[in-house]
Symmetry: C2
Subunit: 354 residues, 2 copies
């Protein structure tokens, strides 16, 4: 990525800085978040998006909420942090990384409640920064694990933006492409535009083109025709939450793409850090699906595209059953033909909630 | 339909009038076409669209091209008409109704070349008008044949706009809904928005809502999730061209929708007049697919949604194999599980090219 999606400026007393992804590719603009409320709003409005980046943003949001706290003891600061975390958690109900990052911040506060407030505040700042640094390292590792799946001369489809803009660095699904490119492979990526918010056209096409990967934009409804008319080697997508059995929630349209890939015998891969797994959920039917504002569908560029008053169904995510997934690329390795047993075998001991 | 999609104003010396569908649902505006060039432009720019309406528009376009001819003999007028038809045929290369309507105009001119030019001109005006009137009658018949497939209380998905706005009257796929409603059935229709040109959100939602049919707009990538989470009884779509074996070319996204329907055991119906069949084509692989301007995908409402210079693949149609089609509703009856034999059995003798 040419520019960091999310960063922290100015040490412990500083602030978070985000690329405003709602304005890309027209306008490159950064947003500074100095309060938990500003970060809540940035997460909600999709200024920052993508599961890993949301995790980093949530951790910084929690820290911002106690950055100027008047608490005198660690216990008081812990109580404040708990309230801030509850608030930040309401920004996006499906993104498990958000809850995971907040749980990590809470655990640090809880484990260190005996510290003076100032020392605990420093410890929380270090934890949020560590989440950012770890995300960078995980992105690189995802790319290394997935790169062997890319064929020199191959053609691939991706959906939404599981790229550098979705993380603090290299991305998840797109990390596989970046890493394969670094290994000297040449290939073609087709980016689903991904309605309603067009993250594929706006963000994936932008960052792949910036990085010198050959990318062609298609509308979501063209993927089936593409697979019938040209050789497509595989599909790579990210994930917002993965159940214990491998069922995967990701951006709406992913499940249909997986069905279309299966019909054409094109392998379908999910690329996600271990933190995306929610081992408390037995299967994907238990993943809550956020429904978003109909105006995301009915308006574009200030103009109505559907008649006034017509109802809209606008789920933000869908669930792809594990049976349609050829493999899940994680930083711990590739989980082939995922099932509860195979997920557990690869990531069991390393899961942050274990 | 509350207003006619295409009509003729003012008798033999008059002109064609179209609803400008590129401006719906924001603005209702009519466009008058007084020359073949104006009609060519209207067809090309999708001011008028939908296979049957394009047929009517092409016939009037051909007539407009010879309306003020100085030809003195029928033979001279025939030669002029041939040139006009060749020109009008270049407006949309996939729409078989366009060629069919032009062939009909040419045949009338050829069969009546012995008439004086003025009489032949009148005869050609009558033929174009007859094509319009026949389209109206066919729409009503399609509705009657298809209505028994609608269940009271059912839920249906449609793609693009195969409605009154695609024809001179009741539509094709939507005629089934209008007719079922006239029979007192109540049901829910989900309209795919249909990228890139959003005919579903702009046109289908508009005309169904105007007619009192319950309609909900979804993005194309949501259909799979919809079928998994709610009971959907069937899919109804129109067609731009149907090969002898039942393979059907329709708006891009139709094939993916058919695959998704099959995966959920939802019956998939095509609704089309007999004139949509191209019996010269053995199978759908022989149907030429128009590729349209990338700007349809990359720009919306004057704003770029994909980065400058990124390539786009923008096929206007795809082909759904007959094996995915539960039935084709025609004015001659329902062709169940279409095959070359079944198509021939239902429409063989009635096909206009037979």
């Amino acid at each position: 990525m040419p520019v960091p999606t999310i960063s922290w400026e100015g040490g412990q007393d500083g602030h978070a800085r985000l690329i405003d992804q709602t304005l890309l590719p027209d306008t490159y603009q950064v947003v500074d978040c100095r309060t938990a409320e500003e970060m809540w709003d940035a997460i909600r409005r999709l200024v920052v998006r993508g599961a890993p980046a949301i995790g980093v943003a949530a951790a910084f949001g929690a820290y911002l909420g106690i950055q100027r706290s008047a608490a005198r003891t660690g216990g008081e600061l812990l109580a404040e942090l708990e309230r801030v975390c509850e608030y930040v958690a309401t920004a996006r109900p499906t993104a498990v990384n958000l809850f995971w990052a907040l749980a990590r911040m809470r655990r640090v506060a809880s484990d260190n409640r005996e510290l003076p407030a100032a020392a605990l505040r420093r410890r929380l700042f270090e934890e949020a920064t560590a989440i950012l640094e770890e995300d960078r390292a995980i992105c690189r590792r995802l790319g290394e694990v997935g790169a062997p799946l890319i064929r020199d001369g191959g053609a691939y489809v991706t959906h939404c933006n599981a790229g550098g803009l979705a993380t603090a660095d290299f991305g998840t699904a797109l990390a596989v492409f970046y890493s394969a490119k670094d290994h000297g492979k040449r290939f073609q990526v087709y980016a689903d535009e991904t309605r309603p918010l067009l993250q594929g056209a706006r963000l994936t096409a932008w960052e792949l083109a910036q990085s010198g990967v050959a990318v062609t934009v298609i509308c979501d409804g063209m993927a089936a025709s593409l697979m019938r008319s040209r050789r497509i080697d595989a599909v790579f997508v990210g994930a917002d939450r993965i159940a214990r059995n491998g069922d995967t929630a990701n951006k709406i349209g992913t499940y249909g793409l997986a069905l279309v890939a299966r019909a054409h015998e094109v392998p379908f891969y999910v690329v996600a850090p271990v933190s995306t797994f929610d081992l408390t959920l037995e299967h994907g039917g238990l993943i809550p699906i956020e429904e978003r504002d109909p105006a995301e569908v009915t308006r574009w560029g200030g103009r109505r595209v559907a008649p006034e008053g017509v109802p809209v169904w606008n789920p933000a995510f869908d669930v792809t059953p594990a049976s349609l997934i050829a493999g899940i690329v994680t930083e711990c390795g590739l989980i082939e033909r995922p099932s509860a047993e195979r997920v557990s075998a690869v990531i069991g001991a390393r899961h942050p909630a274990s």
